[in-house]
Structures are given as structure tokens and as C-alpha cells.
Symmetry: C2
Subunit: 313 residues, 2 copies
Amino acid sequence: MYRIGIDLGGTKTAAAMIDDNNVIINKLSAPTQPEEGNDKVPETIASLSLRLCEDAKIKPSDVSVMGIASPGAINSETGYIERAHNLMMEHYPLVDKVRELTGIGNIKIENDANAAALGEAVAGAAKGAACSVMITLGTGVGGGFVIDGKVFSGFNFIGGEFGHMVIEYNGRPCNCGRRGCWEAYSSATALIKRTREVMEQNPDSKLHEVCAEQGKVNGKAAFIAARRGDKAAEALVDEYVSYLCCGIVNVINMLQPEVLCLGGGISNEGDGLMIPLQKKIDEEIFVRGIGRSTEIRIAKLANDAGLIGAANL
Amino acid sequence: MYRIGIDLGGTKTAAAMIDDNNVIINKLSAPTQPEEGNDKVPETIASLSLRLCEDAKIKPSDVSVMGIASPGAINSETGYIERAHNLMMEHYPLVDKVRELTGIGNIKIENDANAAALGEAVAGAAKGAACSVMITLGTGVGGGFVIDGKVFSGFNFIGGEFGHMVIEYNGRPCNCGRRGCWEAYSSATALIKRTREVMEQNPDSKLHEVCAEQGKVNGKAAFIAARRGDKAAEALVDEYVSYLCCGIVNVINMLQPEVLCLGGGISNEGDGLMIPLQKKIDEEIFVRGIGRSTEIRIAKLANDAGLIGAANL
């Protein structure tokens, strides 16, 4: 069975041929160039897909399914991208266009965060779980929810926006227009902003030397400086972990997923993040009715999650 | 097809025979008396059920399904009540006990808030919706989540605790041990507490006359005094509706249910609640990707939701 996964981004489009065991056997990529017009996007996808078929020595009609992970608001039923800022697209029939250009019959499309959650569910950190949530701590806080091997994104396909759950009423402003969204506390962007503020308030903090070494203020600095025993950085990590815990426990109380995976840049901290986080979660979880609690795990597939998830749509 | 729904409460147990159209054709009730020992509970359920069968002139073996809506943490797979404070039960095999006493083979059990959500989904305000959430604004803030006619309560059956989503980090203390849970703002209990505080701060408020008329401080007083033009009450209703909106928009952003039903005492306010609430929700909803938004509706089945939901488990 030949399956193609596409990870469509504003800058780069990746395409992979994926085998029955969810192993990537060939991966190609090309610039997306959305500024060259909407139709450039399916052209790039088609050209990468046809090269994958050539490399595998198969005809496009031999591809059993192609899945596309796309940013933005996607209608998985019609195959339209309804709105995707970084693709400069509105109400665009991407699936139909790719089908015309490739001759591949069975093409699915899903939001990229949802596809990544599915990838982790079928082949990554949540493999084998009856239901799982993936939370991505990157530029924003992305999310995806998978039940029995299927993405759940609500009746209108735009669910899974866990990052836009307010955890602090009237709190920090969020890009979405609300105040106090989880994203404004737990994204890498938010941590970097807070790191800058803490550095300004603490001219003697080791955060300054760490950021000089890193060449910039990034999402790692607070964790590194905390490991060096810097008090201001320790307090910052504690604050970050507390807000992260707050949102995670909210999700658990509502959905009780078997596994909750953490992905994105901040999740690379590993134990430095997970040990204090798990401790706080254990303190806040209140319902232990039947003695089984959500496992918190670090995502496994990194950038391949979207590709593998897409091929499993 | 004969179906029996049981609504088990700490004080009262209700039982109903329900027809194929989800109409209640006979309803009985009796005191639960959990203080008389765990086994009193299945005895009461059995005696009500056998009377329903007698009234319908059928044998217990003719009952195609009996469903029990129970408070507490329920294991729907094993039929055990794992923990229910107001039934004084821990790890009790209720389904097995009722089966022994009645001879009815097919018995299901579910948490009462989840059963009520299912009732509204199959026969009430969310009838026909692909997915729905029910939020009950009563003593606490209860919740239930239904997808394609089935309760979703996570891998361990204790999901749906929407009331225990923190919306104000480090906010008002909640019974669950966390701070800032939605329940501490949007339950009737929370509104009554705030009404008392506002009355103390505003000796000239019409809240005093309204509560004197009502014979107590209740969840209606703020709405009634606001309708009489009282400024303090208007501000209180606005505060209540704002927090309620915050939690609802959180749920929509995450789950995008086709319908979100509001039940419980406060929902009886009707338009007095719904008009300002819908206005605030429309302001805060940010994703309108594919032009379909969650409908907010008042629950229809009142106390029968649990009975009808139970019969549909």
C-alpha cells in the first residue's frame, strides 16, 4: 500500500512516501511560494508527489491515499482551505486541484495541528491510546484531539484550539482578540517575552550570560539559567510550568485523554520541563475515580508527525 | 421496545418507562435512603423497575435496556460506582446487584451529567446535532459531551468536568481544591454568594427588596433586580454573564460542538440570560473559518434529561 503524506507550510512543503508501518521511505521538499498565486501551492504538491511515485516506481493511481496537513481553517469534507493567512488563501479547493494535477483519487486534508496529533496517535507517543490530545508549545499553543484513530475537530472542523482557552480572566492580551488565553502563557513566544521582562528586572541574572551564549533570547534560556542555579530564572521556569500545568489539568478534567503529548520547541527541554510539570499536575488533578490517570508524554515524531498523520487521514 | 431509565440521586430515585419516541409513558419515584446501606440503593431501583413492568403488563425480561444515571465517578464498562459521596458508595457493583434483583439482562450505567447531556442530544435541545455539549448551571457547573449519539467521557469515564476548568488563574477557591474553576463563577451557588456580597456593599440596592419577596437570596434575585433597573444588580448580572461567556467560548474553541445546551436553575432565566450572553459570545468567538458556529440553546428536558439519556445508553 502506497500512501503519501504532505506537510504544507507557508514557507516549505514536505512530501513523504509512507509504508504500512508508518515508516517514511522517501521524503522530498520544496519552497511553497504562496506569493506566486494560489495555484502555485497545488502545483508544488503535485510535482513533489509525482517525483515520489517515480522514485517508488509506481503510477499515481497506485497511491491508495494522499493526505495533506495544512495550516488554517480547513473543511475536511469539501477539501477546501477556508482560510489560511500564511498561504494567502481563502475558500480554495486545494484537494480538487491536487487531484486534477496528479490523478490520485483518494485525497484527504486536515488542519496541520490535528494531523500532527493523529501522527502521534498512530505512530508516536500516543500509539495505542484510545484517545489522545497533543499540545504543541511553539510560536503558539496548538492542539489536536484524536479519538479511536480519528481526528475530532467539531462539527465545523475548527475545533482543537486548546491554546485559545482563557486560563486567566482579563489576563495577558492574545492575538485572537481575547485576554488570558493559554497561548499567551505557554507558547515559546510567551516564554521569550517573559524572559526579556525578567532580564530587564534582574540585571544580575545569569539569564544575560545564557542569552549571550545562545546569541539571542530564546525559549531555552530560562531552563539553562535555572539549571545554573539562577533564582530569577528558577522563578520564571516555575511560573511557566504553573501556567502550563493549569491548561493541561483543564484539558484532563474535560476530556480525560489516555495520553496527552507535548510537542514543539519547549518540549525539547525533556526532564527539565517534565519533572516539575508532572509534580504540579499530580497536585492539581482531583478526580481519581477509577484509578487511571492521563499520561503526559513528550511527542516523538517531531516534524514528521504531520506527514505521518496526513497519510493516516 | 420497552426501555427503563433510572435517575439516581442522593435523596430521590426516579424511574421511567420510555417508549421508542423517547416519550415517558410512566414515571415513579422513591426516596433513595443511602444511609440505610449500599444495598438499599439497588433494592429501591429494582422495586421501582418491577412496578414499572407490572404497570406496563410486561415481564422484566421484556425490557430491552435499563439505563442508570448516577452521581459520582462511574465505570461504565464494569458497572461499578467507583465513588459517589452522596450515595456513600465506593467501588460498588450496582449494575450486577440490580441485574440480580430484577432479572433484566441489559443494564447500563453512566454519570448523571453525561446521561443528561445524552438525553438532550437524543430528544431535547441538541436533537439532531452531530456533537453537543451540555452545561448545567446548578449547585455546581456540570457538563457532558456527546458525539454521534454517544457519551464521550475519556478513557477512564470521568471526563466532562467542564466546571473544573480554571478560567481565572489563582482565582476564587473551588471545592475541588484548585482555584479559579469555572464552577466558582458560573454555578448558582457562586451567583448566590456574589449576590450576598453585592447586597452587603449596596444597602440601597433593590436586591434587598427582591430577596425579601423571594423569601431568600437565590439565583434569580440578580436578574429580577436588574430588570427593575437596579445598577448594582445590572453590574452583577453583567459580571455573571461575562464569566459564563468566558467558559463557553473556551469550550467552543476546543470542541466546536454543533449545539451547546445550558441547563440547571439559572437557565430558567431564558432571554434575560441568553440575550446578553449571546451578544458577548459573538464578540469573543474568533474562528469563523467555514461559516458555521455553535448554537447556544436552553435545555428542554429539565429533570427528565437524565431519565431519557439513561434509557438511551
